[in-house]
């Protein structure tokens, strides 16, 4: 088992790649257990191990950097507070943490949407494009390449639906409207796309 070493700031390349790639979830599990007992050092290590993943995902969905910081902070505090409730039988620690962060990001954009504050240009002009080119990427290029290859194995329509839903934070109803397909088609593409990705990436649970 490899325990991640705390780095000066976020994004120590080796640590992030090792732990955040999900190849050694036991290190994250151990850190979460320590967090549950109030170990602030463990939480700092956990932050260093996953902050690039977590913040990057939130930023991708929310897009506004200031709001993304707020949402990421909320997610991290939720993780700290609920660390005792993480159940390894139900999934990997990374998936648990990113699920929390994603949900908070989606809640943020949907409430902002209700207030008509959302920039929705992505959906109408960029739907078949790849991920944001402007996003500054940290290490972990191998993981990224692997995921890009898996994404390339999807049909364009599956990929569009998965990207709009997960990275765009749109509901399947909105995805259907954005892609101009019937409602049932959008949800099927999201599911089929995810299943294909799962099988290509060899994700196990």
């Amino acid at each position: 088992m490899v325990v991640p070493v705390p780095s000066e700031r976020s994004g120590d390349g080796a640590t992030t790649r090792l732990v955040a790639g999900g190849r050694d979830p036991s290190a994250l599990v151990a850190l979460l257990r320590s967090c549950a007992r109030g170990d602030e050092d463990a939480f700092a290590q956990l932050y260093d191990a996953v902050s690039g993943r977590l913040y990057g995902l939130v930023l991708r969905v929310v897009r506004d950097p200031a709001q993304s910081e707020e949402v990421a902070q909320e997610a991290f505090i939720h993780i700290w507070q609920h660390s005792a409730r993480y159940d390894p039988d139900k999934g990997s620690p990374l998936a648990w943490m990113l699920t929390i962060a994603h949900r908070k990001a989606v809640d943020r954009v949907r409430s902002a949407q209700a207030a008509s504050e959302r920039d929705s240009r992505f959906g109408s002009t960029n739907q078949d494009r790849s991920f944001d080119q402007t996003v500054e990427k940290v290490e972990s290029r191998l993981d990224a390449q692997r995921v890009h290859r898996a994404l390339d194995s999807l049909t364009d329509t599956q990929r569009g639906a998965v990207e709009l839903a997960y990275l765009g934070g749109y509901t399947h109803t909105e995805v259907a409207a954005l892609l101009d397909v019937p409602l049932g088609t959008a949800k099927t593409r999201i599911r089929d796309g995810l299943i294909r990705l799962r099988d290509t990436l060899g994700v196990s649970t």
Partner: protein, 234 residues
């Protein structure tokens, strides 16, 4: 909807359902091990996608997060929240599960109809004035609420002051617990009903063993989807 509810697993795993759909699907999940496993595997998959969006956060975030964590106490490893009530009817939990199963089982749900009009107020007043009126007080999100039930009139009324406004997309829903039937909707509390609320519950309160209040997605649910904010055992 029920026929192809399994196909919502992907959209659920990536938070692409609206509140009502999510509540429906979560009820389905309780009964469908296959969907639970699929959702777990698709969430793992979605987490992998994070590899291409990785971005180092600004250094200020680290200090802000660690500083805030210092002021937040980690919760103990308990899953059940404490319900502010003197007596907690065990029937609630059984009722909750039973209600969920009934819906999952595909039985047709007849939506409740809340009575409106001047007659409602008269009936509510009669319940409050009834000689056999029974008053059970509890706390809903920090504010006091009382359920008044008259077995002879067979009705119950919720009286509350300063009930906190539910967050966007949520509504308070009332329930009556019937032996053998579980939780049955007793109506949605109208939003913006002012600081003082007197609400006549739908349903035969004489046969009910408890009343409860939950927060549900707007439009209400067929069965409680959240832990009750308060329970009132008769």
């Amino acid at each position: 909807m029920t026929a192809d509810i399994h196909s919502l697993s992907g959209a659920y795993a990536v938070d692409a359902l609206d509140d009502a759909e999510r509540a429906d699907f979560e009820r389905h999940l309780e009964a469908c091990a296959e969907c639970r496993a699929e959702v777990a595997s698709l969430r793992e998959t979605a987490a992998e996608l994070g590899a291409v969006t990785q971005t180092a956060p600004p250094p200020s975030l680290r200090s802000a997060v660690l500083a805030e964590a210092r002021t937040v106490r980690p919760l103990p490893p308990v899953t059940r929240t404490v319900v502010p009530l003197r007596r907690r009817p065990a029937a609630w939990v059984a009722g909750l599960a039973a209600a969920a199963l009934l819906v999952v089982g595909g039985l047709v749900w007849s939506p409740w109809q809340h009575e409106t009009g001047p007659g409602t107020r008269v009936v509510a007043q009669r319940v409050l004035d009834a000689t056999d009126a029974q008053r059970i007080t509890g706390s809903v999100s920090g504010s006091s609420a009382t359920v008044v039930r008259s077995p002879s009139l067979g009705r119950a009324v919720l009286v509350a002051d300063h009930l906190p406004t539910p967050s966007a997309g949520k509504e308070y829903q009332l329930w009556l617990d019937f032996p053998g039937r579980g939780m049955v909707s007793a109506g949605l509390v109208p939003v913006g009903s002012g600081t003082h609320l007197t609400y006549l519950l739908t349903g035969d309160a004489a046969k009910a063993t408890a009343a409860g209040i939950t927060l549900e997605p707007e439009g209400g649910s067929k069965a409680p989807t959240t832990e009750p904010l308060a329970l009132f055992a008769f």
